[in-house]
Subunit: 360 residues, 2 copies
Amino acid sequence: MSRAYNFCAGPATLPEAVLQQAREEMLDWRGTGMSVMEMSHRSDEFVQIAETAERDLRELAGISDDYAVLFMQGGASSQFATIPLNLLGEGGSADYVNTGIWSKKAIAEAKRYGNINVVASAEDSGFSSIPDVSAWQTSADASYLHYTPNETIGGLEFDFIPDSGSVPLVADMSSTMLSRPMDFSKFGLIYAGAQKNIGPSGLVVVIIRKDLLGKARRETPTMMNYQVIADNDSMYNTPATYSWYLAGLVFQWMKAQGGVEAMGAINARKAKKLYDFIDTNDFYANPIDPRFRSWMNVPFTLADDALNADFLKGADARGLLNLKGHRSVGGMRASIYNAMPEAGVDALVQYMAEFAKERG
Amino acid sequence: MSRAYNFCAGPATLPEAVLQQAREEMLDWRGTGMSVMEMSHRSDEFVQIAETAERDLRELAGISDDYAVLFMQGGASSQFATIPLNLLGEGGSADYVNTGIWSKKAIAEAKRYGNINVVASAEDSGFSSIPDVSAWQTSADASYLHYTPNETIGGLEFDFIPDSGSVPLVADMSSTMLSRPMDFSKFGLIYAGAQKNIGPSGLVVVIIRKDLLGKARRETPTMMNYQVIADNDSMYNTPATYSWYLAGLVFQWMKAQGGVEAMGAINARKAKKLYDFIDTNDFYANPIDPRFRSWMNVPFTLADDALNADFLKGADARGLLNLKGHRSVGGMRASIYNAMPEAGVDALVQYMAEFAKERG
């Protein structure tokens, strides 16, 4: 088939222009006679690719020189251990906010390394809303406060940045990174698995305030020591060079679209279209508090679960792919990251309307 | 330029046929309307890609069901910590053989986790030969015996598999994996960063005997726990899907070439050509004991170091790239992995002969 609209939560659709450029450069990057994936990571060519990607990311997100930008491996799941190993200190404690499945995973791993206080939980609301900040039981001497700005599975997203005072704020931005303007100076550390808004899987971007470097515990594997990775410009060992290159192409594409501000406007419009349709059509429902609905991941249910299989089959036939919801939530989920064109959302809404009319 | 001969030690040259297939499939893998890098790692399509790659690797290397095959991230350098964390046990000890820079790195990281005995060292010979096995100070109660079958930087390669008795044998095969037939049943664990003979960087293949699973120490990050990775078919979190796919294409290419036996015959011929030329030309020298010369990485010096820059410049002009030796060794290094065609070695030898004649 021609290119489909792929609503997968991650690995996710990439900008077609990026894939086309990658295709063109596959056997010979700019007259070097090599693919990027065949280049030494220490070559002038690759260092230029790597540095350009970092510079573009800093420009897009507005990240100052107070922060180190690291291109690591192992996904956000590895960071769940890397963060406490680096920031918790011996006998330290940290605060975590639980807003869904990814929060829980971060909490479970961190608990293996120290005292973790779950200072607020969305569990009471069935993970449909963000607990009111006034009730968060945070501690002023916590090593850090961790939260998940967007829950990829639940579709629950913060519309604000919590004020953590002097406690470093740490955020898993895997599925919200670069989707809207955000003041990164409020964070101590953010991390994002690339496979949603940044590039292919196998790469995780970590942005850490430099004063938080150098605190790793003795047992921290060298490859997980932020100081070591920062000191070596993410090339202590061979990095995931091709993923890094593709992330750079995505950053260039984003700049050409008008940057994060423009992406945010488009993303807000895409999400509004889909939620407005769901809210005005009795056949579909989304369970999340409207204020905290995710711009990136839109779970929805059909009025009759027995129709799920037919819905998915019809969607597939139209090239609307990977709409099946996560097994823990059921129903459907449309992930509409930066690279999902507005026309994809339009096509989805049109199909949903037709399906409801015929089968509802 | 057209495709060059790229002698980089890693990331290294890939088979042109593999890159061509990746290019063709970049925007639409077999009519799915998606690139492989856009696919859910849990989709039928990707699971098929992943399973085929594992099956082909097992077939190529002759790996039995007694072993788990893991596709992990973080390179061999992450394994330097992962191995002691999983195999050393609390208070355990392990034996390591030091044959060069990569051995030393593995030893340094392992020492952070327990009692590491360097049971033999090639240091006395300037890392030009393998210490005689009769003098190895191995211990029968070691948790494992670790060695580096091929030292990528020094160009020193074992031509035998050490007999470790009942102690599990662990090997960093990054630069020798699949380069010649080898009896993998003699090993407890082998690991190989992909970016030499397997695929792009960002992937490390681990093959572990199943009875060695489940021994991870308490502080082991979940993402480094072999048991967890094995139990989840290397999909505990999102794996490096595109690198895995490319590794699969390389395995298919290798099978089409006749498998490891055929590759080994070609590699032996390529190495012999290059070493024979070096040995018969006074202008060039290789310092390694002929018995233990690497088939994969051939370091060599010119009679006059002042000519190094000119040698490299002339090589570049002919499309013979990345011949500069590692900074710790100096001189030149030609890495001639599976994907380096014999014609590339012929072109190198011809250039070396002409350069020696003109400038020697």
